[in-house]
């Protein structure tokens, strides 16, 4: 180890506050970025799942067991 004691390691000959401020900020931002990105993907998965479940609910259980996609003709009034 480059330091004689743990106290010397923390104080870094007076440069401790600068060094530790950088390291704490760096890791807080990095971990936040990682957690935020992970949560965004989980939320996107959840949102897709809810959408598909809603679609299935609208079609009814019988429809969901059959074809996975259906098309319905929409007639638009010409009046």
């Amino acid at each position: 180890m480059a330091f004689d004691s743990f106290g010397a390691f923390l104080s870094m000959a007076g440069h401790g506050p600068y060094v530790w401020a950088c390291y704490i900020t760096f890791f807080v931002v990095l971990v936040q970025l990682m957690v935020w990105s992970y949560r965004r993907r989980t939320a996107a998965m959840e949102s897709c799942r809810r959408g598909f479940e809603l679609q299935e609910g609208e079609k009814g259980p019988a429809a969901s067991s059959g074809a996975s996609a259906s098309f319905s003709r929409v007639t638009v009034s010409q009046d």
């Binding site: 900020t25 931002v29 990105s37 996609a69």
Partner: protein
């Protein structure tokens, strides 16, 4: 080669391949970054000129490398978007811009804090620092422009053009320490030369640089997957994957 290029254009293929690589990127990234940081903080020798404040280098340089590399990667993806209209390239730009923004912020912040004990000031308007600040604004501009245009195709083109215009800033950042008189020290690593610092200093630095690159890869894959899920939310493969995941 062309087959790989075509595959790369498929969001479904990318989603699957990213999922396979991501655990390795995360584990390797954490391992390398932590080894580099612990080695640099506690075991690397003191710098004869700057004392212990130089230990900030083990996070400052990786953050600055990533800030510039991420922009270069975005520029390459921007070119692909304009020439081949590949959707995945635009997905990459959208996913990486906020990450690049955060790394640029970290590089500026750690640089400013390192500047105080070394130069006696937090900030100077010299070429290296100012061009890095411009990079931060460019990232901000890319994020804002992407959100401002609702049409997906127009938005992709506009973002790609902005990214390509902004790439002129990258050589300015790199060569600013040679072209102008700046307080900032010259490049730590050069591909053509052996580092001027001893191995006990540059090996941990190299470890933390590699570690952060791997973590960047993990974050980029994760964010690209999110963007793909959003864009492909009505497709059958997303439906099959999401519903299979449920059971």
């Amino acid at each position: 080669m062309w087959q790989f290029f075509h595959k790369l254009g498929s969001p479904k293929w990318f989603y699957g391949i990213a999922a396979r690589f991501m655990p390795w990127l995360l584990a390797g990234g954490i391992l390398l970054l932590m080894s580099g940081v612990i080695w640099g903080l506690a075991f690397a020798p003191k710098d004869y000129l700057q004392g212990d404040s130089y230990r900030i280098i083990f996070i400052h340089v990786p953050a600055a490398f990533l800030a510039q590399s991420a922009y270069m990667m975005m520029a390459a993806a921007g070119l692909v978007t304009l020439v081949w209209r590949m959707k995945l390239a635009d997905v990459f730009v959208r996913a990486v811009a906020p990450v690049g923004f955060m790394f640029t912020f970290l590089s500026l912040f750690t640089g400013a804090v390192w500047g105080k004990p070394t130069w006696g000031t937090w900030w100077v308007w010299d070429a290296r620092l100012t061009s890095m600040l411009i990079l931060l604004f460019l990232y901000g501009g890319v994020i804002a422009l992407g959100k401002a245009i609702s049409d997906e195709k127009s938005s992709a083109r506009a973002v790609a053009v902005l990214v390509l215009v902004g790439v002129v800033n990258i050589p300015i950042i790199k060569y600013s320490v040679e072209w102008w008189n700046t307080l900032h020290q010259p490049a730590t690593f050069k591909l053509t030369e052996k580092p001027s610092m001893p191995a006990e200093m540059w090996v941990p630095l190299l470890l933390s640089v590699l570690g952060l690159y791997l973590l960047f890869g993990w974050i980029a894959c994760l964010r690209m997957q999110t963007e793909i899920l959003f864009r492909e939310r009505r497709t059958r493969w997303v439906r099959d994957m999401v519903m299979a995941d449920r059971s």
